[in-house]
């Protein structure tokens, strides 16, 4: 088991290293693109460009630049922004993290509840009217662009109806949990719903498929022959086995989200989480910030992937023998 963990760790580090190199290359070494002009702005004069190049050490060899950046990021932890000169990156990320976590937390609760209930209801009533209905909602949910959905939500809650029905919904922004729990939840309510909709759709569809497959398995027939109630068979046998495949999906989804993949939702609702920060960095081409955010994100993806592997072994006894 220890060997297994060690191997996972090693490949995780390798992945993160490669990602950092990739990001670096994309921003600094894409052929035909001049990094200095991007930092200084598109209409900068040659003199300014030379100045920028000198200041940011852009004339030194690539590996050296890369090494310096990594050094500042991880070891000295004082990496500063290219755009807002002097601003430290890492504190910005650590300040933004709780916001992202708050967003994900609520969304997860909602989407798990809706997605799993939806999948179970659809599978239980397979073929009857409610089954295709639930599935249709599932498909609709995954066909909506998240950013647009957020805007539509804002339109409804902040637009014409804001003065009447939706007056209680705040206009974006974030209130920390420590400050005021009620406001915290209120501000996050619609972001939660928006982010959750996509995943609820996916989970409902996947679970329905898995449940129906599993209900045709031999061990379900045995359970029936044991005289168990249909209810017990569905929940204790079929569902338990179907949830297994959801676990790995869930782990990866959460990992990716914690790492900042909810950036569109955060931007729409003005929540200054890690995703929002990444977006700012991308807009301004602030490479250190981007690098910091990407590394942060990659770390969580890799972590989540490893956790899922271990969790899988716990939930599905068959895997333990192999691992």
């Amino acid at each position: 088991m220890l060997r297994f963990i060690a191997k996972r760790l090693a490949s995780a580090v390798l992945v993160m290293f490669t990602i950092s190199v990739l990001v670096f290359l994309i921003f600094f070494a894409t052929p035909g693109v001049n990094p200095a002009s991007r930092i200084a702005g598109r209409s900068a004069s040659p003199a300014v460009l030379r100045q920028v190049a000198k200041e940011f050490g852009l004339n030194r060899p690539l590996p050296v630049r890369y090494g310096l950046m990594m050094f500042h990021l991880f070891i000295k932890q004082d990496l500063t922004s290219y755009v807002n000169i002097g601003d430290k990156i890492i504190p910005q990320i650590t300040a933004a993290a709780p916001i992202t976590l708050s967003l994900i937390f609520g969304a997860v609760v909602i989407w798990l509840f809706v997605g799993i209930s939806g999948g179970v209801i659809a599978a239980k009533n397979k073929g009857k009217f409610i089954d295709p209905l639930v599935m249709f909602f599932g498909i609709a949910a995954i066909s909506i662009p998240v950013y647009w959905l957020g805007q539509m939500v804002l339109l409804i809650t902040q637009g014409g109806l804001h003065s009447s029905i939706f007056s209680w919904i705040p206009n974006g922004g974030y209130v920390s949990l420590a400050q005021n729990p009620w406001q915290w939840a209120l501000h996050l309510l619609f972001p939660w719903l928006t982010l959750a909709s996509l995943y609820a759709g996916i989970y409902a569809r996947v679970l329905r498929g898995e449940l129906i497959n599993n209900m045709n398995e031999d061990y379900i027939r045995t359970a029936r022959a044991k005289g168990l109630s249909e209810r017990r068979i569905l929940y204790r046998h079929a569902l338990r086995c179907s949830l297994i495949s959801l676990v790995s999906l869930f782990g990866l989804d959460v990992g990716v989200l914690v790492g900042g993949a909810a950036l569109l939702t955060e931007v729409v609702f003005g929540l200054q989480g890690v995703g929002w920060l990444t977006y700012q960095g991308l807009q301004n081409l602030d490479l250190p910030l981007i690098m910091g955010c990407v590394m942060y994100g990659a770390f969580f993806v890799v972590l989540a992937s490893a956790v899922v592997d271990v969790l899988y072994a716990y939930i599905d006894p068959r895997i333990r023998v192999v691992a």
Partner: protein, 341 residues
């Protein structure tokens, strides 16, 4: 056995069971008029080719056929009580509590995510008022009874940690856990190797004696019948071809299909004998003829076989064939002369 009325003291008494499915290609009559009895402490074997309807018959009796297009008719009495048409809730107390079932493939019969002990306990507590502790103790006893070594530790093992033969023993233990009056075994040994097969059959025989339950064993293998069954039902195309005490059926079979089945058993003691096969293929359930279902493949087919033969006979030995006893004697003597019997 009277075919018109159910036998009062039989554990299971089936009369004219018909199971059919409405499909896009037409009506499939999977079981077409099956009648038999199972007495107390008796082992009844149901034998036939794949597709003869033997499994469907037993599943439909217990409400295990979940197809919306099925229609079941006839009478099935378990310990005198009509169980065909019972509500699902009522059936749930019969299943597992009074009738145990064992299925063909032990590798997939148990839920992979729960321990073996948990699954036996689940059944025990579904039908009995027991504490968890009592149930686990009983489960350990059951595992010992079926020959699982070191049951106290193996009870908390998962199904995949057992071999095929061991898993089948667990399934048997589970099926017998509530002391059912009737145990139904659907091809319990088909998926196992020959040695394990013998062990399992042996186990079933012993358990039947100790628990006092009747067994219905479904198989395509006449060898299994000879080994363990007291009485036999031979099925073809959803219809009974021959019913009777095992010795009678094996020694003096009456239906040509049974002859084919018996002939198909390879024998080590008779030399120079080609393996006998029944010519033709099993009839498709969509094209069962109006008359005798076996007629198209029968060597001794006569004109009257265009009419469906009734199930009849003397004493306990019944058959559904137009051949008279004289005709059978003649056939048998010719066969002996040709060295085929």
């Amino acid at each position: 056995m009277s075919l018109d009325t159910p036998t009062p003291d039989a554990v299971l008494s089936v009369r004219d069971l018909k199971v059919s499915f409405a499909t896009r290609q037409g009506v499939v009559r999977a079981v077409d008029g099956l009648s038999f009895d199972v007495g107390a402490k008796e082992v009844l074997g149901i034998v036939g080719e794949s597709g003869s309807g033997k499994s469907v018959a037993m599943y439909s009796m217990l409400g295990l056929v979940r197809d919306a297009n099925v229609s079941i008719s006839g009478s099935v009495r378990f310990e005198g009580r009509e169980i065909l048409g019972l509500s699902d809730t009522d059936m749930q107390s019969v299943r597992g509590g009074q009738v145990g079932m064992i299925f063909q493939d032990p590798m997939t019969a148990l839920t992979p995510v729960y321990t073996v002990g948990w699954q036996i306990v689940e059944q025990l507590r579904a039908h009995n008022e027991m504490t968890k502790k009592q149930a686990y103790e009983r489960a350990t006893e059951l595992l010992a009874e079926v020959g699982i070594p070191d049951p106290k530790s193996r009870i908390s093992h998962y199904p995949h940690e057992f071999s095929g033969g061991m898993r089948q023993r667990v399934v048997i233990a589970m099926a017998l856990s509530c002391n059912p009056k009737l145990l139904i075994a659907d091809e319990p040994t088909t998926a196992l190797d020959v040695t394990t097969q013998a062990q399992i059959l042996d186990l079933m025989g012993r358990l039947q004696a100790t628990h006092g339950s009747s067994i219905v064993i479904i198989t395509h293998d006449m060898g299994v019948i000879a080994e363990i069954a007291h009485r036999v039902v031979v099925m073809y195309a959803g219809r009974p071809a021959e019913i009777g005490p095992e010795l009678d059926v094996v020694r003096s079979a009456r239906h040509p299909y049974t002859w084919g089945l018996l002939g198909a058993v390879p024998r080590a003691d008779v030399k120079t004998r080609r393996l006998v096969t029944i010519p033709g293929n099993a009839v498709s359930p969509l094209e069962v003829p109006e008359g005798c279902a076996f007629a198209p493949r029968c060597e001794y087919r006569m004109d009257i076989c265009a009419e469906r033969p009734p199930l009849r006979g003397a004493h306990e030995h019944l058959d559904a064939c137009w051949l008279s006893d004289e005709q059978r004697l003649e056939i048998r003597s010719t066969a002996t002369v040709r060295g085929e019997s």
